[in-house]
């Protein structure tokens, strides 16, 4: 029997999808700005491994000689980015949703198990609520990163009026480097995020738009064989307690 399982609250869905195009515009306009002094590269023993960014990349995206335009876009959309972030943060704190999001003391150990599971090295992933341990870490990190982008952005934008922020960020140069590195971080996050969403499938993706997942509720009788199986191997009860719920993720969620 199918049941509707509520997953993502409305505020989370809106802020998520509002943030997506805004962040895209911030990254794009940020590149228009960065082009004017594209000083960053990764060097190993004096050999330039990666230059941010090569000419073909700039030309492909029509980046060159658009500094003024980039600044105009960046300094408008920074408001939306910040306000959307503040709204999300307030909602998550006040609603108590943060409990589902913020890593707990098990998360770092479990995240490793999740990773091994996702890489098909480990058979079972640890039991989870809304987010698994790896998701908790990743999604909390992305919020912290967003906060960092606003802070380092302000530190570069008003280094005299907000001199104390610039100081906290380790100075003008360091603030600019962090601001840039965080952006690279978003792009990497985005790639893994999209891949994971594709792998997780439709039910999961839908929940970020319509808020719910559809789960197959198992009649009690169907669970019996599974229980029996465990009883046959009493040694593994503790270790594989999650196995009983394993056939349907819905049960895992409800067990905990």
């Amino acid at each position: 029997m199918k049941v509707i399982h509520e997953k993502h609250p409305l505020a989370m869905r809106w802020t998520h999808w509002v943030n997506f195009p805004i962040l895209l515009i911030m990254i794009w306009s940020g590149m228009l700005i960065y082009w004017a002094n594209d000083a960053y590269k990764i060097e190993v023993f004096g050999y330039t491994l990666v230059h941010f960014f090569p000419d073909w990349f700039y030309n492909l995206l029509h980046i060159p000689a658009r500094l003024a335009e980039g600044m105009a876009f960046h300094f408008l959309f920074m408001w939306f980015f910040t306000l959307n972030g503040i709204f999300y943060l307030l909602y998550t704190l006040i609603s108590g949703e943060w409990r589902q999001l913020v890593p707990n003391r098990h998360s770092f150990k479990e995240a490793w198990q999740v990773l091994l599971h996702d890489l098909h090295i480990r058979k079972f992933s640890p039991p989870q609520k809304k987010y698994n341990a790896a998701q908790r870490i990743a999604y909390t990190a992305i919020i912290v990163m967003g906060f960092g982008s606003v802070i380092t952005g302000l530190a570069i934008y008003k280094p005299v009026q907000l001199y104390w922020l610039t100081w906290i960020c380790g100075g003008y140069h360091f603030a600019r480097i962090i601001h840039f590195a965080l952006t690279i971080g978003y792009v990497l996050f985005f790639m893994i995020h999209v891949m994971q969403v594709v792998l997780a499938g439709w039910n999961n993706f839908r929940s970020v738009i319509s808020g719910f997942e559809v789960k197959e509720l198992q009649p009690v009788t169907e669970l019996v064989p599974a229980v029996k199986k465990v009883q046959l191997k009493p040694k593994k009860i503790v270790k594989q307690s999650q196995v009983t719920g394993k056939p349907k993720k819905s049960d895992e969620t409800d067990h905990k």
Partner: protein, 262 residues
Amino acid sequence: MKPTTNKPQPAELSIEKKIKRRNFISFTTFFIAGGAAFGGWKWLYNSPEEKTGITGGARQPLRRALNKTELFFRRIFSNDHVVKTYPKERAARVVRVNSDIGLTDENFDASRWQLSLVKKKGEVLKINIEELRALPKTEIIYDFKCVEGWDQIQHWAGLRFIDFIAHYQLHDQAKMGYVGMETPDGGYYIGLDMESALHPQTLLAYEMNDKPITEEHGAPLRLIIPVKYGIKNLKRIGMINFSDQRPRDYWAEQGYDYYSGL
């Protein structure tokens, strides 16, 4: 309302129907909102460029946003917020030259240079460099910041703009909203909001690294204003005037923020 006892009561929606309904509502909203956002972006991206007046070169809505943002950040401006200064040893020996706009007049003769101080319409005071050098000198070693993103610790010295105002008794002019400055050939020009101009670290500089400023850096007199990006640090000042309207500004005409404050 009529009683509807004869009609069959609508049954509880089946789970399938509920799922369908909620999917429909949320995905319709998603695509409508997404379409609207895309349309909004198209509108903004293709919005007409402003007519070039005091400012130019930006999309109209983006210029409005820049001006609004200026108003917000002017609230946190304070004379107590000073740019960080460094010891002399940190100052660059080779000071970066980024532009020669307004410095290309071949007939310019620095030895015959005079500053035109427009006190009001028709009342122009000519000031030579010796007069300015005779006034109290202030040094600053700070991180000069370019709008392009680079910065350099530089050592400048000259007359503070507030001391200049006080010496030439420009108190009435200082109550106006803006200061305008231009190169002698009028090739480069800037406008400053008065509070930034009157910031205690704003200098009319005539020395760099303890020597008279070189030609390429704006001899004999240039503006050093640490609360602004480099684009406002006019070289080879020929004229200074005061106004309640924004004076013309070279880079603001080309899509840059008029305020450009740090």
